[in-house]
Point group: C2
């Protein structure tokens, strides 16, 4: 154990304070995808900046320009960047996280108000939107800063922070900022960064900490099919017009087979099958079919083979149909022919797939299938956002430090995982800075990020705070 005992003790004895602070953060509904919540995202940026400042971090707001959302031009929420420590004898670690969240409403199926942190001491779980994605982890860093500031302990490394408020909406504006800032060379805010640590993903199961060295990319689309000038009564017009929903459903049904096989021609080009070496890695992971099924709350695994399941999320592309905008989505029985319907779907990408190449294939295929339908509806295929996949070198000291910290805090050897999710900015940072990037998750597989009743276990928040702090000490130790 390299982290000092008074740091670790401080974390334990301040657990209630840390939980209260998480409650404050969850109470700000910083939904980046909802124009009506934009001020709350900005409020969250201000809150975070205030928190960082009180522990000695010099912060700045980085304006990121504007976007068009729901037909309105909106200012993007600023990124919050921060700097603490400038000792050339120490390593410099860049921390990334995000303070925006996915949409949530109680009547989506939440048991408690999504924007009120519900701490259930019996189960040891804290429920609330953003609890695990990604407010819990960024507050883990605040807790580390709090401990060092309060105890008068020097941090073992120099830290740089980049926190953004648009991660759940394609990180708009951030890529450009990172690229242009990095291009400043020695004058860059990121000059001197030796490695990057991101805590924005999850353990593979509910018992084994992990280090993550790969992420899938993403390409998100909507298929917009239009027909009449306004919604129609299905009694009056059903049978005499081409209905946009019929057209859209026909197209959506041609994207992916029930077993998950993607039906878009060429989409698997260049994606190699796993060789025996790679298969062994998946077999070595602490994971089982029942881990998956208990995490998702249903017996819906698409294979009985552990390695196949792991490859399904870690190293193979997938396609999910998310929903339809513009159609009837309420309870009850509305007899409507919707005028314009937008089918939403996304692909998770793996090397060598790129959003650009996939978009060409997706668009060509959908246009071809649409033409076959011979309807008089109109079609638009829109690429909404995306990012490439990423894979890192696990032999780097950055991963080694994280492994040692995990073993010190959890007394367990971590799983080495690739993640099915996408944090496109990870790749932007890795590519621009040219340094090693580590994903060091705080939460568990069953946290339900993006879902109803999202939660973070209290133990993951507290031990996770120790882990983040210990990681900094291990970096200082190993990379001396």
């Amino acid at each position: 154990m390299v982290a000092p005992k008074n740091f670790l003790d401080f974390v334990d004895s301040n657990a209630d304070k840390f939980i209260d602070r998480l409650g404050e953060a969850v109470a700000i509904p910083s939904i980046s995808g909802d124009a009506a919540r934009r001020e709350d995202v900005k409020k969250m940026a201000q809150w975070l900046s205030n928190q960082l400042s009180q522990y000695g971090v010099e912060t700045q707001f980085v304006p990121l320009g504007t976007q068009v959302l729901d037909g309105k031009t909106l200012e993007l929420p600023p990124a919050v960047i921060g700097k603490i420590g400038n000792d050339p004898s120490k390593k410099t670690i860049l921390i990334y996280g995000h303070f925006d969240v996915q949409p949530a409403q109680k009547d989506d199926g939440w048991n408690t108000e999504p924007f009120e942190l519900h701490v259930d001491k019996d189960s040891g779980k804290m429920f609330g939107r953003g609890s695990t994605d990604d407010k819990g982890p960024i507050l883990g860093w605040l807790n580390v800063l709090d401990a060092h500031h309060t105890l008068g302990l020097a941090l073992p490394v120099n830290l740089r922070f980049v926190f953004e408020g648009m991660e759940e909406s394609g990180s708009e504006g951030l890529d450009e900022y990172i690229s242009s800032e990095t291009a400043k060379g020695t004058g860059s805010y990121f000059h001197g960064v030796d490695a990057v640590c991101i805590s924005d993903n999850y353990w593979l199961n509910t018992r084994t900490p992990c280090l993550t060295y790969g992420l899938r990319g993403i390409a998100y689309y909507q298929i917009v099919v239009s027909g009449p000038g306004a919604d129609l009564h299905s009694g009056i017009y059903g049978g005499s017009v081409y209905e946009p929903m019929t057209t859209l459903i026909a197209i959506m049904s041609k994207l992916v087979a029930p077993n998950g096989r993607i039906l878009i021609p060429g989409v698997y080009d260049g994606v190699q099958a796993a060789d025996s070496n790679e298969l062994e890695k998946y077999d070595a992971l602490d994971y089982s079919v029942s881990d998956l099924e208990s995490a998702v709350g249903g017996r819906i695994a698409n294979s009985d083979d552990k390695a196949t399941l792991l490859m399904g999320k870690m190293r193979n592309p997938s396609l999910s149909l998310h929903g339809i905008e513009g159609a009837f989505s309420g309870t009850g029985a509305k007899t409507v022919i919707p005028a314009t319907v937008s089918g939403k779907f996304s692909l998770r990408l793996v090397p060598p797939q790129t959003p650009e190449d996939i978009t060409q294939k997706v668009t060509a295929y959908i246009e071809e299938e649409f033409a076959k339908l011979q309807t008089k509806n109109t079609l638009k295929v829109e690429y909404l956002h995306g990012g490439k996949a990423w894979v890192a070198d696990t032999n780097h000291w950055n991963f080694e430090a994280a492994r040692r910290a995990t073993e010190a805090v959890y007394l367990q050897t971590p799983n080495y995982t690739r993640e099915g999710g996408s944090i496109p900015v990870t790749l932007t940072i890795a590519d621009n800075l040219g340094v090693n990037v580590l994903l060091l998750p705080m939460g568990r597989a069953d946290d339900g990020a993006h879902s109803t009743n999202e939660k973070l276990d209290i133990s993951n928040f507290i031990q996770g705070t120790k882990l983040l702090g210990s990681y900094l000490y291990e970096v200082a130790e190993i990379a001396k």
Copy 2:
């Protein structure tokens, strides 16, 4: 012209008052399909009863029991029944209408608040939810009563009213009431009714009044597909689970072809093709492809042949896909795997199809198609509501009176139409009372019932009021 001139003049000179009253009615958001609006439906019942009473109609509220909606047990809104006149030398006409409406929200695409009547004197149109379906027509009857009461004119017939607040939600409770009330024989509220008039449909175009002698039936379903215990993150789980949306979309795509042909085996059993006599009737109607396309606001007619288009809505079954409950339906790009999704669709039925028979075929087919998909999701097929088709005898004096009234008010011979929509209670009334039922619409083909920016033309409201009144005088004259 049989209707007295002072009645007709009263209608013209009181137009503003009538419009204000329609504004009052539209302002009550009496959405029967929304549990949260149940009190507003009851408020609307009270409002209507008060209006009827002030013109000498004896009214009663008929309790219709309870229903389960959105998981809650709710009292059904009462029907409002009314009686005026008991002269055995006069005919007795039963009037049916409904005071509930379809859901509406401004951000569905309305140009104005749906529950504030927007009177545009330039275009001569009145926009608002319920303006044409069915508050405008029931207020037409109020206008007729107002005129006779104010002028001290005796009504030419005895009137009975049945107004319900659940028409847009399957007329729950009303069928049972009509059946049990009718069964009372000479003690029945409906005893002595000679014919029925319902104003709850639309002209075939925007220029020719019509009398309607047929309606399609309806059978409304939802396909519920479930998988995980809660919504999942598509990055974390996409590729390793069977996704309910993929399953649901696959099934929905197998219900109807892009050209409108229904794909459920046996669904067309017994539905005869039109013979040349019948085809001639459709050719005789004042209608064109451009009538359809201007009414729907798009060049989406599924045929270039007028008779084919008319048969598509009047005498052939159809199937519309309405939407999906439980999937992502907002703007933006949510990366969710929805846990439980309910696909909504309905068929419009024609003789000899019945909801019972169609439900068997629909359920068997969907279960068979689901089995072929070999997913581990679960399936439920639920029949939500329905009603049989109806066809009336146009040689009856009830239709003849309506024809003469139309010619007197509009100086035009009406189209004789069958409607694509469904008013299942029409058949209940016709079957139980054993008398002729006439549909005498007030609004035009482009009114947008069930749609955004629903409207009623001022001229249809005012001339329509004259038409309803004149019809009563023609009944008295022709059936002396």
